[in-house]
């Protein structure tokens, strides 16, 4: 079953292809301005006339093309903008005008590099190119693909918009940062009580997100009942927490008893991560997925920030959970025991604290929090088998930035990393956004190896 968007997209592609031969017919059918048909490439010579109301089959359609949509700052389509496509020798190969949906498409004769020039004179008066240097735009067309060319246009007055996009990125960064912080707390606690850097921690995040997807969406597909996201999440958090406890009880505790070195344990966590990651790939496949509940919400504006109710709940819940764990560490007996073991396991053991039990508690809590982070991330973005490893490096960045082993450090570091990642998108390409987080990690290790809130003990 095709979705509506796919259908319209297919329709559009066919229309443009058909238009190459029978421009006037298409014009009559859907009222696309005739110029949208572009100059017809020589090989597209379909002159047959289809009965009205039927779409012409594409014949000798050129496989490669360039397309795009021009929308102004408010997301409104901008019609009647002229775009000219030339090949690398400067010969014009096609021209297009945006339709009433702001969309345009030009077929090109074959793979290669083309330049797309947006005729600025055809833009409406209150709209201009955001980045005039990116016009003409170089586009690399690969074999058999219709490649997008993105022009960003907006109103002449960009001051207010810039403020808005900063506000939006900050809110996003905060949300992302809280999620990372929550997932990273376990990493930090496990390190501080056992000295182990758990390279499989990201997989606990992915495991939580994927299992929740299965209960929420996949199970119904297998003929089972549909479980609402909140219930599914609660079950999975518990399950992953127990899984983490199981890892400690039956894998890491026996290994500690055998006095395995820290390097050995570290490499074991790498093996464990590799195994869990590929089991997820094996069972759930490689494509990204989304949950069934709370999607497609419309944003609510509060001042310059607009957030969906879902994102607001995610942020509030993350903050609450983080605060609850902080209180637990500060006030309860268990929390005090955890801090004692982190400080000095031998001394803690001598004063009657059951160190093994404390570590087990830490693993269960940490794994449960990681799963929670994964579910929130999956709800806000999407879930896939590799998400754990992607987030793992960001979690490392967060805990190291804040000072590994310090609880508040992991929190602060997570939020800083979230903000750095999302705010960088305002000035730099979004494909590099994780790079800035990793660079922040490297810089902090060089300048202040103990982290923002950490104590000086990691210089070896």
């Amino acid at each position: 079953m095709q979705t509506y968007r796919e259908e319209t997209r297919l329709l559009r592609t066919r229309l443009v292809a058909a238009a190459m031969g029978a421009m006037w017919l298409v014009t009559v059918l859907v009222g696309v301005p005739a110029a949208a048909a572009a100059t017809a490439p020589a090989h597209a010579a379909d002159t047959s006339l289809a009965p009205p109301g039927r779409i012409l089959p594409a014949q000798q359609e050129s496989d490669e093309g360039i397309r795009g949509a021009i929308r102004d700052g408010e997301g409104e389509p901008v019609p009647d903008v002229v775009l000219i496509v030339s090949d690398s020798d400067g010969n014009e190969v096609g021209e297009a005008t945006t339709d009433e949906n702001g969309q345009w498409e030009v077929g090109v004769p074959g793979p290669g590099t083309y330049s797309v020039l947006l005729d600025e004179a055809t833009l409406p008066e209150d709209v201009e190119l955001r980045d005039a240097e990116r016009n003409p735009l170089e586009v690399r067309v690969t074999s058999g693909r219709t490649v997008p060319a993105v022009f960003q246009v907006g109103e002449g007055d960009t001051g207010r918009q810039q403020l808005e996009s900063i506000a939006r990125a900050t809110a996003n960064g905060l949300k992302f940062g809280l999620i990372i912080a929550m997932a990273a707390v376990g990493l930090s606690l496990i390190f501080s009580t056992t000295g182990l850097i758990n390279f499989a921690h990201g997989e606990l995040v992915a495991l939580g997100a994927m299992l929740t997807w299965y209960l929420n969406v996949g199970l119904a597909g297998d003929g089972g009942p549909y479980i609402p996201l909140i219930l599914a999440g609660a079950i999975v958090i518990l399950a992953v927490g127990l899984f983490g406890g199981g890892l400690e009880r039956w894998l890491f505790r026996p290994l500690r008893r055998r006095r395995l070195g820290i390097f050995q344990l570290l490499i074991i966590t790498i093996g464990l991560g590799l195994a869990i990651r590929h089991v997820l790939l094996l069972v759930f496949g490689g494509s990204p997925r989304t949950y069934r509940d709370f999607v497609g919400q419309s944003a609510v504006s509060i001042g310059p920030i607009s957030l969906t109710p879902r994102d607001m709940v995610i942020m509030a819940a993350s903050a609450l959970i983080l605060a609850a764990v902080a209180t637990m560490l500060q006030r309860t007996r268990t929390g005090k025991a955890i801090r004692a073991v982190a400080d000095n396991p031998a001394l803690a053991s001598a004063s009657g604290i059951d160190v093994d039990r404390v570590i087990l508690t830490v693993w269960i809590t940490g794994a449960g929090l990681a799963a929670t982070g994964g579910i929130f991330f999956g709800s806000a973005v999407s879930v896939d088998w590799f998400m754990g490893f992607r987030l793992l490096l960001l979690m490392f960045a967060a805990v190291i930035l804040g000072g590994i082993g310090t609880y508040y450090g992991a929190m602060a570091g997570g939020i800083v990393i979230g903000l750095v990642t999302e705010l960088s998108v305002l000035w730099f390409p979004s494909e590099l956004k994780y790079m800035w987080a990793l660079l922040a990690l490297i810089v902090v290790l060089l300048v202040r190896p103990q982290g923002i809130l950490g104590r000086r003990e990691r210089v070896g």
Binding site: I197, L260, G261, G271, A275, H278, L432
Partner: protein, 330 residues
């Protein structure tokens, strides 16, 4: 199940150019991890700069192959200095995280479309180092026995790569017998001892990082010359982990461990893949294991468990000695 096919597929991959390139990666790691005790998790970064050194020199700037190789090796030495000088004073686990982050930053940079003019961005570079196949002295044809045979181009790559891997092994053996090697090994055992004898530990570690990095870069250079392409997505962090599996399987701190490990790892990898594929065709596997990309995922799951089992039950691998595996002495 056709065992001849399974075994010969395994053997072909085990002796192939890819196994040889991974052997070089593991030899470099052996210098870092096995002999000096540095937990370098960014070995793939050295491989990447080597490969892109050749690719950018020969394709983007149209330079000769020898210059490309020099650029690749020089870039790996510079990378070792940039990474090593500030981070070698960190504790081992932080060093590990920093190196993995550096390698990932490098990958994201070369993959970025803002440098597409130089690195090819997400598309990478194609038909690099055409001279390498032009100087191929082997006449056109296919060589080998049955399924274990290689076309002349691949055979040439394979011979050169294994030759370089043997050479690197020899260099490392000689170095580790020298006074330099003894100092480096004593750093692994306990850093304070050589320091108390007046050795500049930092400088030795840096030299070791440069040597192992350059050997890893040689792996990247030969790998890209053989495949004639460079693409950022080849250089994912997992590559480093596979190199660790190879090193630990063969035996860290052993002389021929990386070579044996590479042959064995790729033999098992390819043989198990072929066996699984045959089993899938004979409907012996559950559905989810026989779908499109599932064979690779199954094998990599096994790799993960194998790494854990190795570390738990035989951390010294096949050729290593337990005395030299003083992991995490500090």
């Amino acid at each position: 199940m056709d065992w001849v096919v399974v075994l010969s597929d395994g053997l072909r991959t085990a002796l192939g150019p890819q196994a040889a390139a991974y052997a070089l990666l593991a030899i470099g790691l052996n210098v870092h991890f096995g002999f000096t005790g540095m937990l370098n998790f960014g070995q793939v970064g050295f491989m990447l700069v080597g490969a892109y050194g050749v690719g950018i020199t020969t394709v983007t700037y149209g330079g000769p192959l020898w210059l490309g190789i020099l650029v690749g090796l020089a870039a790996s030495l510079v990378l070792a200095l940039i990474v090593g000088i500030p981070t070698l004073r960190l504790r081992a686990d932080y060093f590990a995280i920093t190196t993995i982050a550096v390698a990932e930053v490098l990958r994201l940079i070369v993959r970025s479309s803002s440098v597409q003019d130089i690195t090819g961005g997400p598309f990478g570079l194609q038909s690099i180092a055409p001279e390498f196949q032009r100087i191929n002295p082997i006449p056109v044809g296919s060589y080998g026995i049955g399924r274990v045979s290689y076309p002349h181009g691949q055979l040439w790559t394979l011979l050169v790569t294994w030759a370089v891997a043997l050479l690197a092994t020899l260099v490392v053996i000689l170095l580790m017998r020298s006074p330099w090697g003894r100092v480096v090994k004593s750093i692994r055992e306990d850093e304070e001892v050589p320091r108390s004898l007046g050795k500049n530990v930092f400088s030795y570690k840096l030299q070791s990082l440069m040597l192992g990095g350059a050997i890893g870069a040689a792996g990247g250079i030969l790998f890209s010359m053989g495949s004639q392409t460079v693409n950022a997505d080849t250089y994912q962090p997992q590559v480093t982990f596979y190199a660790y599996v190879i090193l630990i399987l063969g035996g860290a701190a052993s002389r021929f461990g990386p070579l044996l490990g590479a042959v064995l790892f790729w033999f098992l990898f390819a043989a198990i893949s072929t066996a699984l594929r045959q089993a899938a065709r004979a409907d012996l596997l559950p559905d989810f294991m026989s779908a499109g990309g599932s064979i690779g995922a199954t094998v990599l799951t096994l790799v993960g468990f194998a790494l854990m089992a190795l570390m738990i039950f035989r951390p010294q691998g096949i050729l290593g000695s337990k005395k030299e595996m003083v992991l995490g002495a500090r």
